[in-house]
C-alpha cells in the first residue's frame, strides 16, 4: 500500500489500483456528507481533480495520484458517504483505476513513512 502527501492511499489489486483517503484525512475532514465521484472510463492525468468530498465543514478535492483510466467507482458512497468516516481504508474506497505508468507509484510513501509524515 502506498500513501500520498495529500492523504490518499493506493492499493494494487490484480491489475487495478484502488484509491481512497486515509483515516487521518477522514478524521480531519469530519463527518462526510457528500462524495462526487468521476465517471467510469474517464482518462485522468496525475493531479487532475477527480473526486469532490463535502464534509459538514467544507468541500475538498481529491487529485488523481497517477495517470490512467477510471475503471470503477464506489457507488455506495453516493447514498452512504459516511462509509468514508467509518472505514476509510476499506469499504470507503473511492475509485479504481488502470495505471498507464505504474512506476509513478514508486515515489509515494509506504505505511511507516506515512505514519511518520502525519506524526
Amino acid at each position: 500500500m502506498k500513501f500520498t502527501e495529500e492523504h490518499e492511499w493506493l492499493r494494487v489489486e490484480d491489475d487495478v489500483v484502488v484509491v481512497g483517503i486515509t483515516e487521518h484525512a477522514a478524521e480531519q475532514l469530519g463527518d462526510i456528507v457528500f462524495v462526487e465521484l468521476p465517471s467510469v472510463g474517464t482518462e485522468v492525468v496525475k493531479d487532475d481533480e477527480v473526486v469532490v468530498i463535502e464534509s459538514v465543514k467544507a468541500a475538498s478535492d481529491i487529485l488523481a495520484p497517477i495517470d490512467g483510466e477510471i475503471t470503477e467507482v464506489n457507488d455506495v458512497l453516493t447514498d452512504e458517504p459516511s462509509k468514508v468516516n467509518d472505514d476509510a481504508m476499506g469499504d470507503g474506497w473511492m475509485f479504481k483505476m488502470k495505471a498507464s505508468d505504474a512506476t509513478q507509484m514508486d515515489d509515494y510513501m509506504d505505511e511507516a513513512a506515512y505514519k511518520k509524515f502525519v506524526g
Binding site: 469530519g30 456528507v33 459538514v56 468541500a59 453516493t78 459516511s82
Partner: protein
C-alpha cells in the same frame, strides 16, 4: 492565537476534548469528540449544551424605568420595545441609515430595566451605538457572567432537575432564579429551533453549572459546527452571513419582527435608523428577498454560490448566504437572496456548483419545524 479571548468554560471545553477554533475574536469549541453530525442529532433528540459566553450581555437602565429605556431604545430598532410585557423577551435588530442591519439581538423587559443580548462580533460597536444613542440611559456591559444555552426536547426536564420552576416558563419568558450556582438569569429561548433555555450564570459558577448539566444523561456538549447546522435547519439568520449592514429586515424576511405599531399607520411608526427605506419596502415589497433552497441530490450549495433562473445562460439572480448538509433534514439546504420574481415557494432555480448548474427548489423556512413551547 494569543490575541484570542477565552470564555470561563475554555478549560472545560479542552478537558472534554473539543476542537477549538477562532470565532468572533474568541477561542471556541467547533466540535467535541462526538462529531458535528451526532451532536446535531443529539440536540434534536435530547438536549445539547452550548457555550455562548462570547455573546454580549448588556443592561440598560433609565431614570424613568423600563418604559423610559424602551422608548429611548426604539430610536435604534424597528421593534416594539415599549409594548414588551414584563418578564418577556423579543427578537430585534439595530438598523443603519440605509435600512441595513447592524446586528440582531434579543431584548427583555426585566421590570425596571432592559436586558439585551448581542452577537460577539458586533458587541463593541453595539455598546458604542447604545451608549451614544441613548444618552438618557445607563448602558452597562455585563462582564462577570457566562451564558449557556441548553437546547432540545430534553432541555426542560434536564434544567428543571437542577433549577426547579423553569418548566413553567413558556417560549420567550425571562426570569431571575436562585440556584445552587448563584442567581441565574434564564430565558426560554435559543437559536436552534428547539425548545430550550439560555442561562446567564455568574462566571465563577459557570463551570460547575455546565458540569452539572452534562453529568445528566440527556445532555451532551455541542460545538459551533452543530450550532450552525441547527440554526440553518431552523431557518434562522446568522449575522455577517444571511444578514448584514447591506440587507434590510424586509429583504431578510424578518418583517415579523417589525410590529404594526412601528409601521406606517402605527402609533409609533418610524423613528428608527433607515425608517424611510424599511417602511417603503414594507408597503411596496423589496426587490430581493431571503429564501430557503433545497438543492436536488446531496451536494450542498455553500455560501457564495451564484444563483441563476435557468440551467444555461442568463444573469445572476442571487446568491447563497449559508449552505450546509442538514443532518435532521437528511439532505443539503441553503439560504440566500434572490430577485423578488423568483422568490415564490416551489420555484426551481439553479446554483453554480464548481462550474455546473444544479437545480434547487425555493422552499418555505424553516426546513425543520420548530419545537417551541408556546
Amino acid at each position: 492565537m494569543s490575541d484570542l479571548r477565552v470564555t470561563p468554560l475554555n478549560a472545560l471545553h479542552k478537558e472534554l476534548g473539543a476542537k477549538m477554533v477562532p470565532f468572533a475574536g474568541y477561542e471556541m469549541p467547533v466540535q467535541y469528540p462526538l462529531g458535528v453530525m451526532k451532536e446535531h442529532l443529539h440536540c434534536r433528540a435530547e438536549a445539547g449544551l452550548f457555550d455562548v459566553s462570547h455573546m454580549g450581555q448588556v443592561i440598560i437602565r433609565a431614570p424613568g424605568g423600563y418604559d423610559a429605556a424602551a422608548t429611548a431604545f426604539e430610536t435604534l430598532v424597528p421593534v416594539n420595545a415599549l409594548g414588551l410585557g414584563e418578564g418577556r423577551q423579543r427578537y430585534a435588530m439595530f438598523t443603519n441609515d440605509k435600512g441595513g442591519i447592524e446586528d440582531d439581538l434579543m431584548i427583555a423587559n426585566r421590570g425596571d430595566h432592559m436586558f439585551v443580548v448581542v452577537n460577539a462580533a458586533c458587541k463593541e460597536a453595539d455598546i458604542t451605538r447604545m451608549t451614544t444613542g441613548l444618552p438618557e440611559c445607563e448602558v452597562t456591559e455585563i462582564t462577570d457572567r457566562a451564558l449557556l444555552a441548553l437546547q432540545g426536547p430534553g432541555a426542560e426536564a434536564a434544567l428543571e432537575a437542577l433549577v426547579p420552576g423553569v418548566a413553567s416558563m413558556t417560549f420567550m419568558d425571562v426570569g431571575v432564579m436562585a440556584s445552587d450556582w448563584g442567581e441565574l438569569w434564564i430565558s426560554r429561548s435559543g437559536y436552534t429551533g428547539e425548545d430550550g433555555y439560555e442561562i446567564s450564570v455568574p462566571e465563577d459558577q459557570s463551570e460547575a453549572l455546565a458540569r452539572a448539566l452534562i453529568a445528566l444523561d440527556a445532555v451532551e456538549p455541542i460545538g459551533l459546527g452543530a450550532r450552525d447546522s441547527l440554526r440553518l435547519e431552523a431557518g434562522l439568520c446568522l449575522y455577517g452571513h444571511d444578514i448584514d449592514s447591506g440587507t434590510t429586515p424586509v429583504e431578510a424576511a424578518l418583517t415579523w419582527a417589525i410590529q404594526k405599531v412601528r409601521r406606517n399607520g402605527g402609533a409609533r411608526a418610524g423613528g428608527f435608523p433607515g425608517a424611510d427605506t424599511i417602511l417603503a419596502q414594507l408597503d411596496d415589497g423589496p426587490t430581493r428577498r431571503r429564501v430557503g433552497l433545497r438543492p436536488e441530490g446531496r451536494a450542498p450549495m455553500r455560501e457564495g454560490t451564484e444563483l441563476y433562473a435557468g440551467a444555461e445562460g442568463g444573469d445572476v439572480i442571487g446568491h447563497v448566504t449559508s449552505g450546509a448538509f442538514g443532518p435532521t433534514l437528511g439532505g443539503p439546504m441553503s439560504m440566500g437572496y434572490v430577485t423578488a420574481g423568483f422568490a415564490d415557494d416551489g420555484t426551481t432555480i439553479y446554483g453554480d456548483v464548481r462550474g455546473k448548474r444544479l437545480p434547487a427548489t425555493i422552499t418555505a423556512l424553516p426546513f425543520v419545524p420548530a419545537n417551541f413551547k408556546r
